[in-house]
């Protein structure tokens, strides 16, 4: 396979821009997802029935619909009802709507894994509910959910490719445009894959390091 190297070098600035945009959108989306996940998992623990049902409904909606359709609805549908959101913000909201439910599930599993005896001991010391959540429940839950939270981060990063659907020039859409313009299919796709590897490889290495550290902190091996 003969690759046109000079074409690839020419396109580096465009890919760099796309890469930075991808990272930026993913960063905000993941950050918001985590915040949503924390809030929703605490609500589910709290056992306030109305709030729990709302959270449950949100989780079902978010998990059982495709991100692309969520984005189309936000970007093309809502403006017709008078709510106009700019594309990048749509992307972040969409990713957070999707990611929030995944983060909630991961944290909820972590909370469920905290032994009942830990909670009773904390109560016996006289901790209030909010202190119990802050000092005992969340630190332990987050620690044990690190692998799941990490897997979610990688999943959400990959989902940014779907932003192509609302004309955001992230990595995948940039590539698609370039293929359409220059027909340099192999070169463009190769650069795309390299782009994703640049984000995902360090990220998965970081996560497996973090996972090992956390496990060491928790169990000592």
């Amino acid at each position: 396979m003969n690759l046109d190297w000079s074409y690839m070098i020419d396109q580096i600035p465009l890919y760099k821009k796309a890469l930075i945009l991808t990272i930026k959108l993913a960063f905000w989306g993941i950050l918001l997802s985590t915040i949503i996940g924390l809030i929703c998992s605490i609500i589910q623990y709290s056992k306030v029935k109305v709030l729990r049902n709302i959270v449950q409904g949100y989780i079902e909606l978010s998990r059982n619909t495709p991100l692309l359709i969520q984005l189309f609805f936000l970007y093309y549908g809502l403006p017709k009802m008078g709510i106009t959101i700019e594309a990048e913000l749509c992307a972040i909201i969409g990713l957070a709507f999707l990611g929030g439910s995944y983060m909630t599930e991961a944290l909820r599993a972590g909370i469920e894994a905290v032994p009942v005896t830990q909670i009773e001991t904390a109560k016996a010391i006289g901790l209030s509910n909010s202190q119990l959540i802050r000092y005992i429940l969340l630190p332990q839950a987050v620690t044990s959910s690190v692998p799941a939270l990490g897997a979610n981060c990688i999943f959400l990063l990959k989902e940014t490719s779907i932003f192509s659907g609302i004309a955001i020039l992230e990595l995948t859409n940039t590539t698609k445009d370039l293929i359409g313009m220059f027909y340099k299919t192999n070169e463009s796709l190769l650069m795309l894959v390299i782009g994703y590897l640049i984000i995902l490889l360090p990220m998965s290495l970081l996560l497996s390091w973090l996972e090992r550290r956390v496990r060491h902190a928790e169990f000592g091996y």
Partner: protein, 247 residues
């Protein structure tokens, strides 16, 4: 509080799970400075009784008075009461995300809002007393079961409780570690700490108790001085229980 008011008084306490009666009208009085040991076969409700005393179980009938105050009242905040009732569990649940010192100081600083330096001084003194002064920066995973249980006792003591509840604190320890934990409790008794203890260690019960309560099927079958109970049990159930323990 007058001399006559017992520190803790339980009247006609009834506890049910679904429709099964676990505790069937328990009466119990704990005077200040006294050590009560609760004995009985597995499943007799002794741990449940202890948990009721700390509000970890809701009760269906009866009352619990602490220093004359009725605790079975929706207006009573268990969170406040628990600061005065120390409890140590079988599973020595130290918080794995905190060091020994952080475990001990969590209650005094975050719950009681005490001055850090003062709480720290007390924590160190207590750790010294249980021979673990050098482990204050260790994490629970670095400690043996016996060490963890001693830290759990210190953690409860550091809140300056009026009374301590011990729920089978040596039951999940290796035999060689049981002694070090029981010594700490004996030491507390000699200093006049009020305690309610659930245990299976008969020799320990005999030497530490001011009063033995023998519980069976959710009822108090026998209550009295340890020497009387061990040498001359009155009921068949108690005789049977003590016989099983002798080889």
């Amino acid at each position: 509080m007058s001399e006559a008011t017992p520190l803790l008084q339980v009247k006609k306490l009834v506890k049910k799970y679904n429709n099964k009666t676990i505790l069937n009208g328990i009466d119990l009085t704990v005077d200040k400075g006294k050590v009560i040991v609760i004995l009985g076969p597995s499943g007799c409700g002794k741990s449940t009784l202890l948990r009721c005393l700390n509000g970890l179980e809701d009760i269906q009938d009866g009352s619990i008075l602490f220093a004359g105050q009725e605790l079975i009242d929706p207006k009573v905040s268990w969170q406040k009461i628990r600061q005065q009732i120390g409890m140590v569990f079988q599973s020595y649940d130290l918080f794995p995300n905190m060091t020994v010192l952080e475990n001990v100081l969590l209650g005094p600083i975050k719950v009681q809002k005490r001055d850090r330096a003062e709480a720290l001084a007390q924590a160190r003194e207590l750790l010294q007393r249980v021979d673990l002064a050098d482990r204050e920066n260790d994490y629970p995973r670095q400690l043996s079961g016996g060490q963890k249980q001693r830290i759990a006792i210190v953690r409860a003591l550091c809140m300056n409780p009026e009374i301590m509840l011990f729920d089978e604190v040596t039951a999940s320890l290796d035999p060689e570690m049981v002694r070090e934990v029981l010594n700490v409790i004996l030491q507390l008794a000699s200093q006049g700490m009020t305690m309610v203890i659930v245990t299976h260690e008969m020799n320990f019960a005999r030497s530490v108790a001011d009063e033995i309560i023998f519980l069976d099927n959710g009822n108090i079958c026998e209550a009295g001085h340890p020497e009387d109970f061990f040498n001359n049990p009155q009921t068949d159930r108690a005789k049977q229980f003590l016989n099983i323990l002798q080889f």
